[in-house]
């Protein structure tokens, strides 16, 4: 009888439970990430959301291969050692991965900005963020979105404009290059209205977007749109807000980061490990371009024509390109101190010698190298003193926009609006004066002067080719200086193959 009871109980248990779904068994939560409901309840979340937009710059290839290559290889002042030498013939394959990095990473930043803007508005409305902070953060988001579009259009021409979070499949076609720059102007105008000047930002926030940076990019974008008058008035707003560094060499000096001339600077940070196990805050930039004899890399080198093109007495030369037998112009850099130089080159303090230039172990480089990227004295590449550590990745910031560029842009805008005298005034009495040069001959055609100054002021930085293309004389310039005929349409980069593969509404640039 006892067993029968158990049977009835068991049966009862089953029958009762059968129809139940035990729904709470499926209630699992993710403990590795955070859901939107639990977020954005305190101000730090809003700040972090915007911080992550800046993080977009921290990508292995973005600054270097996606931007620096485009600014400097296409202008032929610098060349790639090794595989990616197609820049010399402008035959950039559509599958060249840094193109896709430029595209993908930029839109990642744009999407981060697009998603941050409404969340911050909501946090402001709910009182989580005070109005001043919310405005600053919103301004930063608009600024950064504008910056990404600025470089996308500079590299590729027109790109699709995504100005809010994409909720459909995102197969939107390209806008025109002018549409994109117009959007940059609008974003920068919005940002300029919301952001503080650099001096009001506070030291702890050094590196964030400022009103000045927004105005500088706005002016530059207006020039792409040929709205030169507006550009001049934009640039004029910066009057007195930034000063040129007295010595040209100091602009990129390691111990003078975020200096008075710098308008927008991507921030990097030394970490515990500067070798292959490095953190995201460092960049493989300095040692990448330093000579193989120093860093074991030397993946770029300067064209000797650049070295020869400087006027005698131009102080910018030694701060831009170093040639055989030269000492390094920066007081922080002593060539003789590099471990590999000590062991293999008898500790000479020059970049090889005229008799034995440093062309790499395979003799395939020119013996001339970029100086502006070679400034962090800690970096030794994949070499080290016995028992020491490799220092491949650097923590030095990269200047994206500085007063020197703004002044030259303004000069060009003045020329385009017919005020050549004012342009020459800037060039002769500000730019060339700092370079230790006298006025340029009045007989030299003004656009040649402009291009010459763009080149010698800004080559090896993040803008030269874009400024030349904006000016419009870039194709003739390359023909004249380097004897290279750019194949039709190849003065801009191809749309990455993967982009077209995933969105057939995107058309390739006609040259490819």
């Amino acid at each position: 009888m006892k067993f029968n009871k158990s049977i009835y109980l068991l049966t009862f248990g089953f029958v009762t439970l059968m129809p139940l779904s035990c729904k709470d068994y499926l209630n699992e939560t993710d403990s590795t990430r955070i859901s939107e409901e639990s977020l954005f309840k305190n101000a730090a979340d809003g700040i972090n959301l915007v911080n992550a937009i800046y993080d977009t710059f921290h990508d292995g290839d973005f600054i270097n291969k996606s931007l620096w290559y485009g600014a400097n290889f296409l202008s032929q002042d610098f060349h790639n050692y090794g595989a990616d030498s197609f820049f010399e013939t402008y035959e950039i394959p559509t599958t060249f991965n840094p193109l896709n990095v430029a595209w993908t990473r930029s839109y990642q930043g744009i999407a981060r900005a697009n998603s941050a803007i409404p969340i911050i508005a909501k946090m402001k409305a709910e009182g989580v963020l005070d109005a001043a902070l919310a405005d600053r953060l919103t301004g930063e988001a608009y600024f950064l979105r504008g910056v990404f579009y600025y470089y996308l259009a500079s590299n590729f021409g027109g790109v699709p404009l995504e100005l809010q979070t994409v909720t459909d499949e995102g197969r939107h076609p390209r806008n025109t290059q002018d549409d994109v720059f117009a959007s940059v102007v609008a974003d920068m105008q919005m940002a300029a209205n919301l952001l503080p000047w650099k001096e009001d930002l506070g030291t702890a926030n050094l590196g964030r977007a400022t009103k000045g940076a927004a105005i500088a990019y706005m002016g530059s974008a207006q020039m792409w749109l040929k709205k030169y008058t507006e550009a001049i008035s934009s640039f004029n707003q910066l009057e007195g807000k930034y000063q040129l560094m007295e010595n040209f060499i100091d602009i990129h000096e390691y111990n003078k980061q975020n200096n008075q001339e710098s308008i927008f600077e991507v921030q990097f940070l030394e970490g515990a490990d500067q070798s292959w196990g490095h953190a995201n805050e460092t960049i493989w930039f300095s040692s990448f371009h330093m000579p193989e004899e120093v860093s074991n890399f030397g993946y770029s080198y300067a064209d000797p024509k650049l070295y020869a093109s400087f006027e005698a007495g131009d102080k910018r030369k030694a701060a831009t390109v170093i040639g055989p037998g030269d000492e390094h112009a920066s007081p922080a850099i002593e060539i003789k101190n590099y471990p590999k130089v000590k062991v293999q080159f008898g500790g000479i303090n020059t970049l090889g010698t005229l008799a034995k230039p440093w062309k790499g172990s395979d003799n395939l480089r020119s013996g001339y190298y970029s100086v502006k990227t070679w400034r962090d004295p800690n970096v030794t590449g994949s070499t080290s003193a016995p028992g020491g550590k490799e220092y491949i990745f650097n923590g030095q910031n990269v200047i994206m926009m500085r007063l020197g560029e703004v002044l030259l842009s303004k000069a060009e805008a003045l020329v385009k609006t017919g005020n050549e005298a004012a342009a020459r005034e800037i060039i002769d009495n500000v730019i060339r004066k700092r370079a230790g040069l006298g006025p340029v001959a009045a007989s030299t055609p003004i656009n040649d002067v402009l291009i010459n100054e763009y080149r010698h002021e800004l080559t090896g930085e993040m803008s030269l080719w874009f400024l030349l293309r904006r000016n419009g004389e870039h194709i003739n310039y390359v023909k004249k200086e380097f004897g290279i005929t750019i194949p039709t349409g190849k003065d801009i980069l191809p749309i990455p193959q993967e982009v077209i593969l995933n969105n057939s509404t995107i058309t390739q640039n006609p040259g490819y």
Partner: protein, 1086 residues
């Protein structure tokens, strides 16, 4: 009301658990009273065992029921046995014959005729939540028996499925000891997980089955169509493999001991240049390629050759020992086994060792209550210092043929390792060699440990409430854990000393299952009804933690606390659960017409609240034609049944947890490469980002399957035929589809598209015995048609998902090598068609001129740098010049966008297994062949053998002898091999059909010859049976494939922890090769 339900519901769950266990306690109490005592033996019984047609049967087991007393018949079928002086029962059993029981009551003669093999019909098939007689099965199910598994020695159980069953394709990913295996039932249903669900003794396991001991397996039943699998709902789309382990049988007691030792021969090797040839080539190319050769190379004949393959490959050894005790009384049966497998792989530094223990106990406490317990434990240690890969600058099998064959950097020695233990190394400074390292030193100095513990334990209690009505509760756990570390000491064999590197990680998965079922089985006249239904919960939590760093003060330390710089720390946990109800009803009318209907309602935590539940129904019918009167007298036909099924099942494997949510994350910490923060004023601040596009509509993948089959037997079951036509359409499979990156994301997880797999499965078995000679032939064959029907609106194709770390040197873009396009096969290969070698500059100039006229100056046909000796590629017909809408011309130049085409596919047209068994007197022989036909291989290793520039872009590497001797030179106008060039600006070695090869092969997987010792020799030692055997695996392989081995599965991506998917199948990146085993072994039963 709502509140009441909420309170009652968990309580009722607990109540049932309590009740289930209270039953177990009672069962234990009963156990004490059932121990039987056996009296001493006294009386002899003799006799002879013959088959139905009068042949003597040797080796038949004759056992006194309920005891361990027994014997086996001799060559003439006779036996003699001493039995206890009480009356009892003899059990006479022999594989392939129906077991008989014969009572005895004193000494005497008992001759026995064993019924002719009717086993195929009597055979019981294990299906989900029950068993069915093979003759009553309406779905597509094939079975692999213990005998088949035991014949072919394998390292892991999944290997034993290869070639054994139609519809089941098994491919080793590589041949490293204990390595992963792809098991695909009826093709590829999606781009994610295509592995079947394994159910071990009723427990659906989440991982694979590599932890089980193959010798514990009684049978594997492979459920292939929806009718058979639908009871497993949203885990059933890839098929279900039901594994049943050996259990004790009442009346039999058997101790068995198996031992096998196999020697594994060194594998086939690539023929690469020796030091003299290499140095000569390097010197020749120095100027053209901008290499600075080492001064030592100027005298090539004086250099010492290092044959890297010979240094690293070795002969292997595999040893396997198992001991098992199985038996029981009427009430209590148990099976116990222990096993050890130890394998030393053929690549230095690869080892695998596994210990297995298993206990199965069944206890029939009362007539109506039965308790069963199954416990399986295993522990494995594995180590692979150099595995598949090395296609990039990393170390792997591919490095062996890449390594420069001479080392001159160490002033102490130019050997790999000298007698004083000094390792040779490459010149530390010269770029030509600087990226290479002494692989022997790398392997010998590293230290790693990878340990896995696996426990699968379940207990069930089954009560028969009334005639035909049973309820059962089953509670199980599956716990597995991994722990390991990896250490490399500081390495001074390079210009910059690399610091010591140490990482340590651990993960564990803890899962429980609770299932309750009710079964009802009754016959009402000509109607037979069989029902099973129930519900199930399964909950899984995985936790993992890992850390690593560089710099240790001593190479003896294996302690994260002593690491000077921590480079990464990770730790997380994730849980998922399933809640389900299911039911199956079968109805048998007149023993002619069979109907089965199955449904499962599955809920899964992987989906958003509104999408958690899915219903998966199926139905099937069968007609036992043979039982119709019109066939009754057709004697040649023993059996004939026609089956048809249709159903819908799901797949939730491979769908990551929480992928429906839009979640925010901060990425790694400040020190990590994947953080989302940014420094301001040189102070790091956290960043927060949306980690993926949210997809609240995410749901399981659905597979709609239909099957028409036929089972026939002829000649008194000596010839058995099974044939099936299957059609399987996978819909809404989850795909991380590439989305336009302008969304801010490059991929989004979506349910998209459909893939169809269809084909014919044939199984044919023939058995015959002529006096003492018995033989059997069984053949299975599967054809496979895979077709991508649709992908996504506007998306006609997708490339390979993830890369393989292929370096893209010069004009060689290896980022994309696959293309799965609508109308084509999933995972197809993609690249350029080659058109021989450019022989003259004039030929190049002519093509360049055409391109320049069309596209402007400096636009070449291929590249401006193309010179004679470079490979020419085909300009695909893409342009419509005459305006008729049909392309009729090439566009005059080679571009990635227009000139790449699908080059082949890793999916075979058919695959087949052929098994031959024969016994004559005491000898037996087994041969097992496996063939895969019609698949292609993307031979990346061949690319490496033709590539002179090293994968990192600097320096040079070794090449193949065939390439070296036959490469294009001005004096050797080869049309096959391009010139040697380090930079390869023309992209000679880009993905092209030059590396596509036919991957078909036929392999003798196994050959085993055994000899069973005559009874007269062993009877005195109270041993039942001794069989000795020799075996060989992979004795020969017939293939046209030029690489080391044509069996290539899915390849791991070196950039993301070795993940695999179908778009990276059949690519030979330098696969850990297979080779021959030669072994000898022993089976003893007491």
């Amino acid at each position: 009301m709502k509140k009441f339900t909420h309170l009652w519901h968990p309580k009722s769950c607990y109540l049932l658990i309590f009740l289930s266990f209270s039953g177990v306690v009672e069962a234990k109490a009963d156990l004490a009273h059932s121990t039987a005592t056996i009296k001493p033996v006294a009386w002899p019984i003799t006799g002879k065992v013959v088959s139905a047609n009068g042949e003597a049967l040797p080796g038949v087991t004759v056992l006194v029921k309920g005891t361990t007393t027994g014997t086996a018949t001799g060559v003439d079928g006779s036996y003699s046995l001493n039995v206890p002086e009480t009356a009892g029962t003899l059990i006479i059993s022999f594989i392939g014959y129906a077991t008989q029981e014969r009572p005895f009551s004193g000494p005497g003669t008992i001759n026995i005729t064993l019924a002719d093999d009717a086993k195929a019909l009597e055979e019981v098939v294990v299906v989900g939540y029950g068993t069915q007689k093979r003759e009553d099965v309406t779905g597509a199910i094939s079975s692999v028996s213990a005998a088949q598994i035991e014949k072919t020695p394998v390292t892991t159980l999944d290997q034993a499925l290869q070639g054994r069953s139609a519809g089941v394709q098994v491919t080793n990913n590589d041949a490293s000891p204990g390595a992963g295996i792809q098991v695909q039932i009826r093709g590829i249903g999606g781009f994610g997980n295509n592995s079947p669900l394994y159910v071990v003794d009723g427990y659906p396991v989440s991982g694979g089955i590599s932890n089980l001991n193959p010798s514990d397996i009684a049978s594997m039943d492979i459920l292939k169509d929806a009718s058979a699998t639908a009871i497993y709902g949203n885990r059933a789309a890839n098929g279900v493999v039901i594994i049943t382990t050996k259990r004790g049988k009442s009346g039999e007691m058997q101790i068995s001991l198996d031992a096998l030792t196999s020697y594994q021969a060194q594998p086939k090797m690539h023929d690469v240049l020796n030091a003299e040839q290499f140095a000569t080539l390097a010197n020749e190319q120095a100027v053209a390629d901008g290499i600075s050769p080492l001064p030592e190379w100027s005298n090539p004949s004086a250099l010492r050759t290092i044959d890297w393959q010979d240094e690293i490959y070795r002969s292997g050894l595999r040893q396997n020992y198992n001991v098992a005790i199985r038996g029981g009384s009427d009430k209590l049966q148990s099976a116990f086994s222990l096993g050890i497998l130890d394998q030393k792989g053929i690549v230095l530094g690869s080892d695998y060792r596994r210990y297995n223990a298993s206990v199965n106990v069944d206890y029939s406490a009362t007539k109506w209550l039965k308790a069963s317990t199954s416990i399986k434990y295993s522990r494995s240690d594995s180590k692979i210092a150099l595995g598949t890969g090395g296609q990039n600058a990393g170390n792997g099998i591919a490095s062996l043929s890449n390594q420069i064959p001479t080392m001159t950097g160490n002033p102490l020695t130019d050997q790999v390792k000298d007698e004083n233990g000094n390792y040779g190394y490459y010149d530390k400074i010269n770029n030509a060699v600087s990226y290479q390292d002494n692989l022997l030193a790398v392997i010998e100095t590293q230290d790693q440990k990878n340990q896995n513990n696996f426990l699968l334990a379940s207990g069930s209690l089954e009560a028969t409430l009334a005639e035909g009505l049973r309820i059962k509760t089953n509670l199980g756990v599956n716990i597995s854990d991994y722990s390991g570390y990896y250490f490399t000491p500081s390495n001074a064999r390079r210009q910059t000393e690399l610091p010591a590197n140490y990482s340590q990680s651990a993960s564990n998965t803890s899962e429980y299952l609770w299932e309750n079922t009710l079964a009802y089985n009754r016959t009402f006249g000509v109607h037979v009804i069989d029902f099973v239904g129930g519900f199930s919960f399964q909950d899984n939590t995985t936790r993992s933690i890992s850390g690593g760093g560089i710099g240790l003060i001593s190479n003896q330390l294996r302690n994260l606390g002593n690491v000077q710089t921590i480079t990464g720390i990770n730790g997380n946990q994730i849980s998922s659960s399933l809640a389900s109800q299911f039911g199956r009803i079968t109805y048998n009318l007149l023993d002619k017409y069979l109907f089965t209907a199955t449904v499962r309602r599955d809920g899964s935590s992987k989906f958003a609240q509104d999408n958690q539940y899915g219903v998966f129904p199926s139905a099937s019918i069968a007609w036992k034609v043979k039982n119709e009167t019109f066939l009754q007298n057709v004697n040649a036909l023993t059996d004939l049944k026609i089956r048809a099924s249709y159903g819908r099942v799901g797949n939730q494997f491979g769908i990551p947890d929480f992928s429906f949510l839009g979640l925010y994350g901060t990425g790694g910490n400040q020190l990590s490469i994947n953080n989302n923060g940014y420094p301001f004023n040189k102070e790091y601040q956290e960043g927060l980002v949306l980690t993926a596009l949210p997809n609240p509509n995410l749901k399981w993948e659905t597979s709609v399957q239909s099957d028409i089959g036929l089972d026939a037997a002829f000649l008194n079951n000596r010839l058995i035929l099974t044939a099936d036509y299957y059609l399987k359409e996978s819909r809404d499979f989850l795909l991380s589809i590439p989305v336009p990156s302008q969304t801010g994301f490059t991929t989004a997880a979506r349910n998209v598209g459909s893939i169809r797999n269809s084909g014919i499965e044939l199984g044919l078995e023939f058995r015959e015995s002529v006096n003492a000679f018995k033989y059997g032939i069984s053949l299975n064959l599967t054809t496979l048609n895979n077709k991508v029907l649709s992908l996504y609106d506007g998306l006609n194709s997708i490339g390979n998902l993830g890369g393989l770390g292929f370096p893209s040197i010069g004009g060689n873009n290896w980022i994309q090598f696959g293309l799965s396009e609508v109308g084509g096969e999933a995972g197809a290969f993609y690249g350029f068609k080659s058109a021989g070698i450019f022989q003259t500059q004039a030929e190049i100039d002519a093509l360049n001129q055409v391109a320049a006229e069309k596209y402007g100056a400096n636009t070449p046909y291929q590249a401006t740098t193309t010179v004679p000796g470079d490979r020419k590629f085909v300009d695909q017909i893409t342009e419509d010049t005459d305006g008729d809408g049909i392309p009729d011309s090439g566009d005059g130049r080679i571009t990635d966008s227009k000139d790449r085409v699908v080059l082949g596919s890793p999916i075979p047209d058919f695959f087949t297994g052929l098994n031959l068994d024969a016994t004559y007197s005491n000898f037996d022989i087994n041969m097992f062949f496996y063939a895969s036909v019609g698949n292609e291989i993307f031979n990346y290793s061949k690319r490496l053998l033709e590539t002179f520039g090293n994968p990192g872009g600097l320096g040079i590497k070794n090449v193949g002898v065939d390439y070296y001797n036959n490469r294009w030179t001005p004096t050797n106008p080869s049309n096959e091999y391009p010139r040697a060039t380090r930079a390869d600006l023309n992209g000679n070695n880009r993905p092209s059909d030059a590396y596509i090869e036919d991957g078909s092969y036929l392999r003798l997987r196994n050959l085993q010859i055994g000899y069973t010792l005559p009874n007269t020799l062993i009877q005195s030692a109270s041993i039942n049976k001794i069989r000795v055997f020799v075996s060989a695996q992979n004795l020969f392989t017939i293939t046209n494939y030029s690489g080391l081995d044509p069996e290539i599965g899915q390849v791991g991506n070196p950039d993301d922890g070795g993940s695999r998917n179908v778009t990276r199948s059949g690519i030979d990146v330098g696969t850990y090769p297979i080779s021959r085993f030669f072994g000898a072994g022993l089976n003893v039963t007491f």
